[in-house]
Structure formats: structure tokens, C-alpha cells
């Protein structure tokens, strides 16, 4: 008669707190950011380490300041025949969100044979954050400069290539020259529900590191609040 031994099932005893999902499971890595942000932060794509090595480029844009906590410099190369962005390289002073967002933007504009310039001009911060798998709410503000830096580089390309008619004039009025925030940006922020100075700053960085423009920002918030929410 064949004998067999019954295999004992190994029981891993969980603590009560583990059962109630109060404590993180052992071995679970916790990071403030998504894996995509982490990847772009630790291994940035299209980063230029030594800017002096760039001899030729089609457009250069820069935005932000060390005072406001984020600063980006963006170089673009254009496929002139097809009016597409060929390549974007960059340098960023900022936190993981800012570095991750610029890196992701540089991938977005160059993928699939390059992004048509008209489309690149329309990239919004939300497009970048969604590709990053989201950002923690309080870090959204760190990513809002990337698209502006790109537009500034494209405008620079228009200028250098004598296509002045294509330069997208920021029609709105500049409120904060350092963070490049216009009255239009503030209007948008208010429309999205930012009805206090703090909330508007979170979205736009207006007046951060540039406190003298705050009274004007507060005036605008009041104006748009009354306009839209009575």
C-alpha cells in the first residue's frame, strides 16, 4: 500500500494590524511618486549635462528662477521639412516632480517621429502629469513650468528662423515676470476652483519668490471670483 504524507500548508500568521490593513505589508516599497516619475527622476531622458557642448540648436527657452524654486532651460531641434520637433534637451533646477516632468516632456515631443509644432504649442501641464501616472496634489505646481519652457523655445525657433508671424504672443497680460504667470493663468486657476491666494499659487506659482506682485494677484482673484461665482 502506497503511503503518502500530507503536505502541511505553511500558515503565515498576520498581526491584527496587518489584517486590518493598518500597517504596510513587509517589503512594500513606499515612494511619494509613481514609478514613472521615479524612473524619469533617477534616469532622466534627454538631459544635457554640459550645456557648453551644445553648439547648434534651433530654439532655446528658459523659464522660472532659482528664487521661485524651479527653473528650466530647454533646447529644441526642428525637422523643418515636416514642421515637427525632432529632439528636445533640457536642464532643470527643481525637485523630483520638476525633473521628472521635463524629462517626460522631452520624450513626448520626440516620440513617433516627432511632434508637429502646432501640437507641441498646445501641450498643457495636465498632459504631462497624466503621462507621469499622476503627481501628488501638492507637487502639481512643480510641473507647471515645463510646457511654458517648451513654448518659449519654440517661439525662439520662430524668431531665429525668421517666421515672426508664427510667434505666439502671450496675449494675456504678464502679472509675474519671474514665474511667467499671466492674468489668463490666474483666470484659469480660479475657474478650476482655486479661489484663495494660496490655492492660486499652488496651481500657478504666481508671486512665489516674488512677493511684490501678490497684491495684484489678490485683486485679480477677487475680480474673477466675482465674475464667475458672484
Amino acid at each position: 500500500m502506497p503511503t503518502y504524507t500530507k503536505k502541511k500548508k505553511k500558515v503565515i500568521k498576520k498581526s491584527v494590524a496587518e489584517q486590518a490593513d493598518i500597517v504596510p505589508k513587509s517589503g512594500e516599497e513606499s515612494w511619494l511618486y509613481s514609478d514613472i516619475v521615479k524612473e524619469h527622476f533617477f534616469t532622466p531622458k534627454n538631459l544635457i549635462m554640459d550645456a557648453s557642448k551644445i553648439k547648434e540648436y534651433d530654439g532655446l527657452g528658459m523659464i522660472g528662477s532659482p528664487a521661485c524654486g524651479d527653473m528650466m532651460k530647454v533646447w529644441v531641434w526642428v525637422d523643418k521639412k515636416n514642421d515637427k520637433i525632432k529632439k528636445m534637451q533640457w536642464q532643470t533646477f527643481g525637485c523630483a516632480s520638476a525633473i521628472g516632468a521635463t524629462s517626460m516632456l522631452s520624450v513626448m515631443v520626440a516620440e513617433n517621429g516627432g511632434m508637429p509644432i502646432e501640437q507641441a504649442l498646445k501641450i498643457r501641464p495636465q498632459d504631462i502629469t497624466s503621462r507621469l501616472g499622476g503627481l501628488p496634489t501638492r507637487k502639481i505646481h512643480c510641473s507647471v513650468l515645463g510646457d511654458k519652457a517648451l513654448r518659449s523655445a519654440i517661439n525662439n525657433y520662430f524668431l531665429r528662423s525668421k517666421q515672426k508671424d508664427r510667434i505666439v504672443e502671450e496675449q494675456a497680460r504678464m502679472i509675474d515676470k519671474i514665474a511667467q504667470v499671466t492674468d489668463h493663468d490666474i483666470e484659469e486657476a480660479v475657474l478650476e476652483g482655486a479661489i484663495s491666494l494660496e490655492a492660486v499659487q499652488k496651481k500657478t506659482k504666481a508671486g512665489v519668490g516674488n512677493p511684490e506682485v501678490i497684491p495684484e494677484i489678490e485683486q485679480l482673484i477677487k475680480f474673477y471670483r466675482e465674475k464667475y461665482f458672484g
Partner: protein
């Protein structure tokens, strides 16, 4: 194996196993409510009394002058709001510095919103309260001065004893003129464990501490209240803690706090000596091996465990994440870790511009810190800084920076 080097002891400390052991009987076995008349209740009351005596001994006060609270923030709120409300003056006037912890600044803001008057005193480039300004701000309706004993970010140790002694003289003159007494509070949360908390020497009326910064448990604090200092309770209920902090006493926490404070006091001088030597070695090493760095806070009049340097052209959070990857846990004054997008008000109060606050790195040493940890850090950090500087398009000119520090306005917070 990745190293695990915790250099953020100013944020919180691990609870000392001896403290945990002392607390252990008070969860399930001796669980009584000190207000109950029967045996286990009275036993809990004895434990509470003994803990109070132990803490009072370290404060050099009477046990009746010590109450237990739910932490440092609560002690501070009770001291500041309690004293101002109890003054029954409207508006009452109070004075603090623009260098304080948010527990103080926001408590003061709340009083201001209720119509009271507040003066914020600036600090000098090392972080010392500008005393002339402090004395010139005193008004007839001033009822409270609150100055921290040591700063949590840059470690500067304030001359509490000197301020307290001077205030005592002033109060005598005010008494003759029939003006209200000015009470003196100090937030000693960061100083506890490193500095002597003798309230007689310090000439303070109110002193706040908490457990979690001295290898004790979180969620428990103490407040020293000099006899004759009127406070209005913020939590009403069953009248525990002299009617100033109602709610069944957190006996395990209180035992933990008293035990932790005792252990800290016993080892204080020896541990301070060890930490000062590690601190000074690290500061010197980092400032000499990394270009474009500034020490924040005073070189010697600082907490034994505090190192705070600004590393220009890079952003603090990015630096912290790279340090975290190699197992080093530290802290920054960069806006990117704050809720309100403004970088550290403390670094800026020193006159440092935004650029320096964004690139600030705070390392706070503790019991577990060994020389080899700091050697490891000082080997790795220059590489991380070099890399992040290459990523960054910024190149701040140090001469411009130094000259801007001199003339930078120090009144940085408006309430």
C-alpha cells in the same frame, strides 16, 4: 544591503527600548483611571504623581507646576492662547519671533485673527533674537513673550536666561505702574535632552516640551506653569490636570515621557560632548569639500546635534531623494517639501535669500549616529551635489549672495 542612516532626529526620535519597557505595564495590567477611587485607579494616580515629580525635578520646579498634555504643539497652544485669553484684555498684546516653529506662529496667528495684537521680532544673521527690538516692542497691554529655547531647523540657542532675567526687572517696574504682568514662555521642544531645563535659572513662566524628540513616545508632552500664571483651558471636560487639560490621563505616555526625560538628563553632558565633536567634524568636512555652501545658524551656539547647510544651485528635495537611495534620511527647507510653496521661513529669517533656502540640508544627529555614518555621508554627498549641479541650469554668484544677505529684509512673515 542598503545602509540605514537616520539623520533626522529633529523630526522625531525612535523610542528608547528602556522607555518602551517602562511603559509596558500600563497598557493592559495597570490600566486604571487615576480618577477612580478603587485600588487600580489609585495605583494609576500614584504613577501619575511620581511621573510629575520626576519631570518637576528636571525643571527644578514644584510638581504642581507641571501638567501633561497631548504633545509639544498642544503645550505651546495652551501656554500661548491660555495666557492671552486669561489676561482678559482685549486686545492683549504678545511678542514672539519670526523664527519660531509653526506651532507658535500659527497659535499667534489665531489670536491675531481674534483681534489681539502681535509683534514679530526679527533675528540676526546667526539666528539670535534682536533684543533691542524685543524690548522696544513692549506696550502697556503686553501680556506674553514667547521665544524658543533652540531653533528646530538651524539649532541656534537663544539667550533665554538673559531675556528672562531682564523681563523680571521690567515686570517689577510694571507692577509699580499697575501695568499687567508679562509672562514668558519658551518652546523647549527641540532643546529638551540637550540643554538644561532649569526654570529658575531660565526665569521662564511657561515651558513646553514633548516626548517624541527625546526618545520618548509620540502624543505626549508637558507644560511647566509657574505658580501664579493664569491660563485658560483649551480643552474642557472632567477637570484633569488642574482643570487645564481635561481627558483621562495618558498614563503609559506620561510614564514614557518622564522616563525618557530622566534618561536624557543622565546622559546629557556625555552625549552632548560626543555629538558636538561629530557635528563640528561634519560641518567642517562638508563646507570644505563641497563648493558654494553656507552654514546656517551660529557655528557654536547651536544644538549639539544640528547641522544645517545651504548648497547653492540645487534643490533640496532632489538631494534628499538621492540621499534616500543610499539609505541616508535627512531634511530640507525647500518649498518642495512644504505645504505652502514658500521655502523655510527660518532660513529666510537669517537673511538668506530664497535660493539658499531651497538648497538647504538639515542633518540632525542622535544616539544611533556613529562617526562612520558621517564619513559615509561626506564621501557620497559631494558626488550627488556635483551631479545635480550638472542637471541644473543655475549658477548663483556667491559674492552677490553674500552681499544680499547683509541687506536682506529680515521681516519676512506678515501676520
Amino acid at each position: 544591503m542598503t545602509k540605514h542612516i537616520y539623520l533626522d532626529h529633529a523630526a522625531t526620535t525612535p523610542t528608547d527600548p528602556r522607555v518602551v519597557k517602562a511603559m509596558a505595564p500600563y497598557w493592559t495590567k495597570n490600566f486604571g483611571n487615576p480618577s477612580s477611587l478603587y485600588y487600580i485607579g489609585q495605583r494609576a494616580k500614584n504613577t501619575l504623581d511620581n511621573s510629575r515629580i520626576a519631570v518637576a525635578k528636571i525643571f527644578n520646579s514644584q510638581p504642581e507646576e507641571v501638567i501633561f498634555t497631548g504633545g509639544g504643539t498642544e503645550s505651546i497652544n495652551l501656554a500661548i492662547k491660555g495666557a492671552v485669553i486669561a489676561s482678559r484684555l482685549t486686545p492683549a498684546h504678545l511678542i514672539t519671533s519670526n523664527f519660531e516653529h509653526h506651532a507658535v506662529l500659527n497659535a499667534v496667528q489665531a489670536l491675531k485673527n481674534q483681534g489681539h495684537e502681535v509683534s514679530l521680532i526679527p533675528v540676526d544673521a546667526d539666528g539670535f533674537i534682536i533684543q533691542d527690538k524685543l524690548w522696544s516692542e513692549i506696550q502697556d497691554n503686553t501680556v506674553l513673550i514667547s521665544i524658543m529655547m533652540a531653533n528646530n531647523e538651524v539649532g541656534t540657542i537663544e539667550p533665554i536666561q538673559e531675556i528672562g532675567a531682564h523681563l523680571e526687572k521690567l515686570n517689577k517696574e510694571r507692577k509699580a505702574k499697575n501695568l499687567p504682568h508679562i509672562f514668558f514662555h519658551t518652546d523647549a521642544c527641540q532643546a529638551a535632552g540637550a540643554l538644561e531645563l532649569n526654570v529658575e535659572k531660565l526665569h521662564v513662566d511657561l515651558l513646553s516640551i514633548n516626548g517624541s524628540k527625546i526618545y520618548g513616545p509620540k502624543g505626549v508632552g508637558a507644560l511647566y506653569i509657574r505658580r501664579g500664571t493664569a491660563l485658560k483651558a483649551l480643552v474642557d471636560g472632567g477637570g484633569q490636570e488642574k482643570n487645564l487639560r481635561s481627558g483621562t490621563e495618558n498614563i503609559p505616555g506620561i510614564v514614557g515621557l518622564a522616563t525618557a526625560l530622566n534618561i536624557a538628563e543622565q546622559n546629557r553632558e556625555k552625549e552632548n560632548k560626543r555629538l558636538i565633536s561629530l557635528r563640528d567634524w561634519t560641518i567642517k568636512k562638508l563646507l570644505t569639500t563641497i563648493p558654494k555652501t553656507l552654514l546656517n545658524g551660529h557655528p557654536t551656539q547651536r544644538l549639539p546635534n544640528n547641522i544645517n547647510i545651504s548648497i547653492l544651485d540645487i534643490e533640496g528635495e532632489a538631494m534628499l531623494l538621492y540621499l534616500d537611495e543610499i539609505g541616508i534620511q535627512a531634511s530640507t527647507g525647500s518649498a518642495c517639501t512644504a505645504q505652502d510653496l514658500e521655502p523655510s521661513h527660518v532660513i529666510r529669517a537669517l537673511g538668506r535669500p530664497y535660493e539658499a533656502a531651497h538648497g538647504s540640508l538639515r542633518l540632525t544627529l542622535g544616539h544611533s549616529t556613529q562617526k562612520e555614518d558621517l564619513v559615509f555621508l561626506s564621501k557620497k554627498l559631494p558626488g550627488i551635489v556635483k551631479y545635480l549641479r550638472q542637471v541644473s541650469p543655475i549658477n548663483v554668484d556667491m559674492n552677490t549672495l553674500h552681499s544680499s544677505i547683509k541687506k536682506y529684509p529680515r521681516e519676512i512673515i506678515k501676520l
